[in-house]
C-alpha cells in the first residue's frame, strides 16, 4: 500500500497517460483511441528511454566479454531475469528463460520436452479457445510422434467445459496446454484447478500467459504449473522478448533446443557439452536491449500496483459492456463470469472488417477478425468479431468515443 500511495494515489489515469507519448498521436485528424491492447500494449517512455540509453551507453555482447561495457550489459540483462523471477514468483532465477515471445516459448517446449516425452498413443489436451500459437506446435509434434490432440470444448458463455476436461484426462495424457486468459473472449480460465487435475493424471501443464501477465497477479508456484509462457510486448515492454518459465527439474532433464553460442560449455568436433540453466536454452545473441528495457516495464507495473490497475480495468470492462449492450443488434461473444478487460462482439448483418475500417477513420484502433483463433470462431459460427481490449491508460471518455464511433459506423453500413 505504501509504495502505491506514494506513486499514484487512487490510480491517476491522466498521470499514467502522460507516461505514454504515443497516446498523444493524431490518426486521420482525430485523437488516437487505442483499444487494441491485447495485440500489443503501448510503451511508457521509461521503456523506450532504456532502449535508447543501452545503445548509447553500454551496448556490448553479454556473458563472454571481460571489458567494462560487457560487464555492465550482462549485469543489466541478468537483473531483468531476477525481476521476472519475482514478477511471477518463481522459486529459482534459472527457471526464467528468455525467448523471442510466447510463440517461441511454446515452440521451445514442443521441440524439446514434447519430443523427448511423447510416444505413439499419448495424448495432449488443449482447449477450444487456444490461440493458433498454442495449437499448431502441438499438432506438429503429435503428427511427428503419433500422439493425439484432444480438445476441451468451449461452452456458449465462453467458459471451458470443465466436466469434459476431467473426462478427457487419463493416463494417456502427457501434457495439458491451456490459455490462462483467452485472447478472443477475455475468459479467465481456472488454471490452478486444471493443473491440479492434470497432475493427478500424471500430466505436465503449460500455461499460455500471453494475455494474463498484464492483468492478473502471476504466481507460478501457487498455480503449480510446469511451464508458463508470456511476452514482454503485451505488458508494456519491447517486442521481440518473451519468457519461458519451467520448473527447474523439468528444464534440467529437457534436451537442448537450438545449438550455437551461449548454450555450450565446451565444443570439440567429437562432442559438445552444454551450459547450465538457463543458458542451455538461450543460444545465440539475445535481444539484449529488449531484455534490459523489459525491466523498466516490470518496474512500471510494480509501481502502478497491479491491484489498483485490476480494479480500474474491471471498471472499464463493466462500463464498456454496459454501454455496448445498449447498441441494437450487438452481441457480446464471451460472457464468462471472470474476464479480463477485453470485450469481443458482433453486429447483426455487418462484417467486422467494415466496422474496423470505419472506426480507424475515426482514430479508433480495435482489432477485427478471427484473432488467430479460427477453431473458436467456427465454434460460435462467426467469421470473426470486433474486439476492444483495454489497458490501464484507457478512459471512460475513450469508451464513449468507441460507442459514438460504432453508432456512426452502423449508420453508414446499414
Amino acid at each position: 500500500m505504501e509504495s502505491a500511495t506514494n506513486i499514484v494515489p487512487l490510480f491517476d489515469v491522466m498521470a499514467v497517460r502522460k507516461m505514454f507519448p504515443v497516446l498523444n498521436r493524431v490518426v486521420h485528424n482525430k485523437p488516437l483511441v487505442y483499444l487494441d491492447n491485447a495485440a500489443t500494449t503501448q510503451k511508457p517512455e521509461i521503456v523506450t528511454d532504456m532502449l535508447d540509453f543501452y545503445y548509447k551507453n553500454y551496448n556490448a555482447n553479454i556473458h563472454r566479454g571481460i571489458h567494462a561495457l560487457a560487464e555492465e550489459a550482462t549485469e543489466a540483462f541478468e537483473a531483468t531475469r531476477t525481476d521476472v523471477q519475482s514478477f511471477i514468483n518463481a522459486a529459482h532465477r534459472e527457471e526464467i528463460i528468455f525467448t523471442s515471445g510466447t510463440t517461441d516459448s511454446i515452440n521451445l517446449v514442443s521441440h524439446t520436452w514434447a519430443k523427448a516425452n511423447l510416444k505413439r498413443g499419448d495424448e495432449i489436451i488443449i482447449t477450444g479457445m487456444e490461440h493458433h500459437s498454442n495449437i499448431v506446435p502441438w499438432q506438429l509434434v503429435c503428427e511427428e510422434r503419433g500422439a493425439k490432440l484432444k480438445v476441451v470444448p468451449v461452452l456458449e458463455n465462453g467458459e471451458l467445459d470443465l466436466e469434459a476436461y476431467h473426462n478427457l484426462l487419463s493416463e494417456k495424457t502427457k501434457l495439458v496446454a491451456v490459455a490462462h486468459v483467452s485472447n478472443a473472449l477475455g475468459t479467465i480460465n481456472p488454471v490452478k484447478k486444471m493443473v491440479e487435475a492434470a497432475h493427478k493424471a500424471g500430466a505436465v501443464v503449460l500455461v499460455d500467459g500471453a494475455q494474463s501477465a498484464v492483468h492478473l497477479d502471476i504466481n507460478v508456484r501457487d498455480l503449480n504449473c510446469d511451464f508458463f509462457a508470456f511476452s514482454a510486448h503485451k505488458i508494456y515492454g519491447p517486442t521481440g522478448v518473451g519468457v519461458l518459465y519451467g520448473k527447474k527439474k523439468i528444464l534440467e532433464a529437457m534436451p537442448v533446443f537450438r545449438g550455437g553460442g551461449e548454450m555450450i560449455k565446451e565444443v570439440t568436433f567429437e562432442k559438445t557439452t552444454y551450459n547450465e540453466l538457463p543458458y542451455k536454452f538461450e543460444a545465440g545473441t539475445p535481444h539484449i536491449a529488449g531484455v534490459i528495457a523489459f525491466k523498466a516495464a516490470l518496474d512500471f507495473i510494480k509501481q502502478t500496483g497491479k491491484d489498483f490497475v485490476k480494479n480500474y480495468e474491471d471498471d472499464l470492462l463493466k462500463y464498456a459492456t454496459d454501454e455496448l449492450l445498449k447498441l441494437e443488434g450487438l452481441q457480446i461473444i464471451g460472457n464468462a463470469k471472470h474476464k479480463t478487460s477485453l470485450v469481443s462482439f458482433t453486429l447483426d448483418g455487418i462484417h467486422p472488417q467494415d466496422v474496423g475500417v470505419l472506426l480507424d477513420q475515426q482514430g479508433i484502433a480495435v482489432r477485427t477478425g478471427h484473432h488467430c483463433t479460427q477453431p473458436l470462431m467456427a465454434r460460435f459460427g462467426i467469421p470473426g468479431t470486433i474486439r476492444a481490449s483495454f489497458a490501464l491508460y484507457n478512459t471512460h471518455e475513450e469508451i464513449d468515443a468507441l460507442i459514438n464511433g460504432l453508432q456512426k459506423a452502423i449508420k453508414m453500413l446499414k
Binding site: 462484417h351 472488417q353 467494415d354 470505419l358 478471427h370
Partner: protein
Amino acid sequence: MEGSIQEREAEIIENFSLFDTWEEKYEYIIDLGKKLAPLDDAYKVEENIIKGCQSTVWLTACVKDGRVFFKADSDAVIVKGLVSMLIELLSGQPPQEILDARLDFMDRIGMMQHLAQTRSNGLLSMIRQMKSYALAFQSEEIKTNSDGNR
C-alpha cells in the same frame, strides 16, 4: 463506363475529388458495394476464392471478342465497393491493357491502405488474379491465332 482504363481512372479520381469528408468517400464506396450485383452462388466455389485474413473475395472471368470480363463479390461491403471499382475499370478491356494497368487511382483517392492490408482483405491478391486471368486469356488467344495461321 466507356473508354480506356486510364480514362476510367481519371473519372474515378475526379468523382472522389468532389468529396470533402471521409464519410462521403466511404458512403460512396459502401453504396457501390451494395449496388454490385451479387455473384451467383454457382461461382462462389473454392477455386474462385481469394482468401484474405478477415474477409473473402470471389472472382471469376471470361473472355469474349478479345476482351476480358470479370465478376466478383465479397462478404465485406467496403471491400466489395473497392472490388466494384476495379471491375468497372478492368472489365471489358483487352488483356494487354489489363496487364499494363498500374491502378494508381487507389493512391490518388486515398485508398492505398486497403491494398497494403493484403493479409486482411485479399484486394491486392485480387488484382494479381485479374492480371493472371488476362495473361492466361492472352496466351490462349495467341495460341489460337497461330493455330489458325498454320
